[in-house]
């Protein structure tokens, strides 16, 4: 007979160590999959995890890919820590990009140092506003924020579709579904000539620092953590739950909006229908792999970004299907959840003895 019991003494060190176990298991699992597919697992894993970052360009691409993931995951950590399940970061990213992109298009033929800050601020406000919708509906109408935030993803994507096909499409672009190119003044400055890594990475780093400060050094952070551990305790302690819910959603939305604006003013340079390969959803994996800890999230965003790059390199060099990238991301989450389960619960195999049955 199998009995599952809650562990009372979970060592914190182990709690932060399990993500590494999950990654190691993912790499092993990946090796097995490659072997079954008929590839040399060592060679495949090398192309997957080492080749993409074996030169400066690759390293810059890794940071470029990790930046939006890190930003969004930082925002999500505020929501998740306080038991608010914001699943719609992708929508907030899209809406932030729409608002920021709209401002950039207003200034499409102008130059000026003030344009980029305006565009970035507009993007953050856009994301914030879009995250407020599920937050307000949750606090005042008791709706389920998971459903509302998820459905709003489609709303924002369809709105973007409409804008780039219709009113915002490039008048000189033969009706192709894309806007004009933004002017150089609305583009993120590149950090190094010839590489695509841009100033947006500083936004992500600032978000990491700021979130660490808020979560661990302020009263708001304390409220968030207590609410996450026990809503009843939070109420008993007299925390104003509604304000906190609104604030965490706003922080989360602003981060996602910044990520969106970073993409369109960074590597893309215009609005079109494919501004994000589902960063908003992948960032959920990043947030949990990083244990909702600001510094953990930096690490996790790099790992997950590498699965994207690795999938491309592995296909170029070995013609391994690109979808293995998603398999890897899935495996990371799976192994993380599995090891969490074993961390918090123990599985006991009991001998069936007569006196135990009498209990």
């Amino acid at each position: 007979m199998i009995k599952i019991e809650k562990r009372n003494d979970v060592p914190m060190a182990l709690y932060f160590f399990t993500p590494f176990i999950a990654i190691i298991l993912t790499i092993l699992g990946g090796g097995i999959i490659f072997y079954i597919l008929g590839f040399n697992p060592i060679e495949a894993l090398k192309f997957y995890f080492i080749t993409p970052i074996s030169n400066l360009y690759g390293f810059s691409e890794l940071l470029l890919k990790a930046t939006p993931l890190c930003l969004i995951a930082i925002g999500l950590s505020f929501c998740f820590k306080s038991n608010n399940w914001n699943i719609g970061a992708e929508g907030q990213l899209t809406f932030g990009a729409i608002v920021g992109g709209g401002v950039a298009l207003l200034f499409y033929n102008q130059e000026g140092f003030y344009i980029l800050p305006l565009v970035i601020t507009a993007g953050a406000i856009g994301g914030m506003f879009f995250a407020l919708i599920p937050a307000i509906l949750k606090t005042y109408f008791n709706t389920n924020e998971i459903l509302v935030s998820l459905m709003l993803v489609y709303v924002s994507k369809l709105l973007l579709d409409y804008l780039v096909v219709g009113p915002w499409s490039n008048p000189e672009g033969f009706n192709f579904p894309e806007t004009r190119q933004f002017s150089d003044s609305s583009r993120m400055p590149l950090l190094f000539e010839g590489l695509r890594i841009h100033a947006g990475i500083f936004l992500a780093l600032a978000a990491v620092m700021l979130s660490w400060f808020i979560l661990y050094k302020t009263y708001l952070g304390f409220q968030i953590k207590v609410s996450g551990l026990s809503l009843k305790t939070a109420k008993y302690a007299g925390f104003k739950g509604k304000t906190m819910i609104l604030v965490v959603f706003m922080i989360s939305g602003a981060c996602a909006g910044l990520a969106g604006v970073g993409e369109i003013t960074g590597p893309i340079g215009q609005l079109h229908r494919m501004i994000s390969p589902d960063y908003g959803f992948t960032a959920i994996i990043v947030a949990f792999l990083g244990r909702l800890n600001p510094f953990g999230i930096i690490f996790a965003s790099l790992v997950v970004a590498l699965t994207y790059l690795g999938a491309e390199t592995a296909q170029i060099f070995l013609q391994i299907p690109k979808y293995t990238g998603q398999v890897f991301q899935g495996m990371i989450l799976f192994f993380l959840l599995a090891s969490d389960y074993l961390l918090f619960f123990k599985v006991k195999i009991l001998n069936l003895k007569k006196n135990e049955l009498r209990h």
Binding site: N55, L56, Y57, E61, L64, D161, V165, G166, F174, N175, F176, P177, F192, E193, G194, L195, R196, E263, G266, P267, I268, G269, H272, M274, I275, S276, P277, Y308, L309, E312, T313, Q315, I316, F317, Q319, P321, K322, Y323
Partner: protein, 354 residues
């Protein structure tokens, strides 16, 4: 100091890319927008790649590359890893292709369906799909009982509008009463949406359905509803054997093989290619016997005439929806007009979305 160091490193990386290129080991790279198993657009490009392989040239492909920030990295990686010729097979790769081409002057780039050739190592190519549409229009005009043809359109770009117009003109020629109803789905590949659009058109009385989208959903919907349909991009007969009258097939293979050999032998030149039935870049699938032997014969003759240039899809007089003349009697539309086509001809219902 640091800046110089990085410059040095970057140029070293680029040089590394070039030195691999000078190797006798000639390789061709392909970037696909969809999965190779889409049975439409990407599937046909993949068939073209297979033909290049069969010609004894090494190839690599990357599938499902989003048309956003990722495209540039993939194209650059292909260029860096020793590919000498790179085909980027979707419109959205236009700017990334030109950007990478600038940094790799020794690598040749071929961009499908675009119009930007900013560097001498970038060529563009596309097919005169509208010639196939003319054949579909002729068949549809003869086969329809309700005089209503349903058309599922993706985006209001010249290529799509050209197809709608070519089809409508040909159908009017054999059946002056036909109407073309259009549903815009604003996607190239979304089986759910395409199926809904097909059903909506059938509900509005269309008994012939065609589409300028990539999935097999419209022909399958037509098969279920018992109306006629046409395959798009690839021979889709096996997905709707009763309903499909024929398919427009994009045959990229001859072009890909020719360009790959030219690049290998050093005879590759920049060009803007627009091939049709004549060169075989547009081909037709088998004709359904339900059309009857006479109609098949007629259509086969028309196909020959389009290929030889005896008949042109856009021969005047052609009027727009308001009745203004677009192409005068006895004239044919030139390529410039075709490339920028942005109005419907008379007989098409509705407005172009703006």
């Amino acid at each position: 100091m640091y800046k110089n160091f990085f410059r040095y490193l970057i140029s070293a990386i680029f040089l590394l890319g070039f030195s691999v290129n000078s190797n006798a080991d000639f390789k061709v790279g392909f970037v696909y927008v969809g999965p190779t198993g889409d049975h439409g657009w990407t599937f046909q490009h993949h068939e073209g790649r297979n033909a290049v392989e069969a010609a004894g040239i090494k190839t690599t492909f990357v599938e499902s590359v989003p048309e956003g920030a990722d495209a540039e990295r993939v194209i650059r990686q292909l260029a860096q890893s020793g590919h000498d010729l790179i085909f980027t097979t979707s419109f959205g790769y236009m700017d990334p292709t030109n950007k990478v081409a600038k940094d790799f002057p020794n690598v040749k780039f071929e961009h499908a369906t675009g119009y930007k050739r900013e560097h001498s190592n970038v060529s563009t190519y596309s097919a005169r799909f509208y010639e196939g549409r003319t054949l579909l229009g002729h068949i549809a005009g003869k086969m329809t009982k309700t005089n209503t043809i349903g058309y599922i359109a993706s985006f209001p770009i010249p290529e799509v509008i050209r197809g709608i117009n070519a089809m409508t003109l040909a159908a009017q020629k054999v059946n002056p009463n036909i109407k073309t109803k259009i549903v815009w789905v604003f996607t190239w590949y979304d089986p759910g949406k395409e199926a809904e659009a097909a059903q909506a058109l059938i509900d509005q009385g269309a008994d012939v359905i065609m589409q300028h989208t990539d999935s097999t959903a419209p022909v399958q919907t037509a098969e279920k509803a018992g109306v006629w349909s046409f395959g798009q991009a690839s021979d889709m007969q096996r997905f709707a054997p009763k309903s499909i009258l024929t398919s427009i097939i994009d045959d990229w293979a001859p072009y890909y093989v020719e360009r790959a050999i030219a690049a290998r032998d050093g005879t590759w030149n920049q060009q803007d290619t627009w091939h049709g039935l004549k060169e075989g870049m547009v081909a037709m699938g088998p004709y359904n016997s339900a059309m009857g032997a006479d109609l098949v014969k007629e259509v086969e003759q028309l196909q020959k005439d389009l290929a030889s240039g005896k008949v042109h899809s856009f021969t005047g007089p052609i009027y727009d929806q308001k009745g203004n003349i677009l192409v005068a009697e006895g004239k044919v539309a030139d390529d410039g007009m075709l490339a920028g086509m942005s109005v419907y001809v008379k007989g098409v219902e509705g407005d172009i979305p703006k």
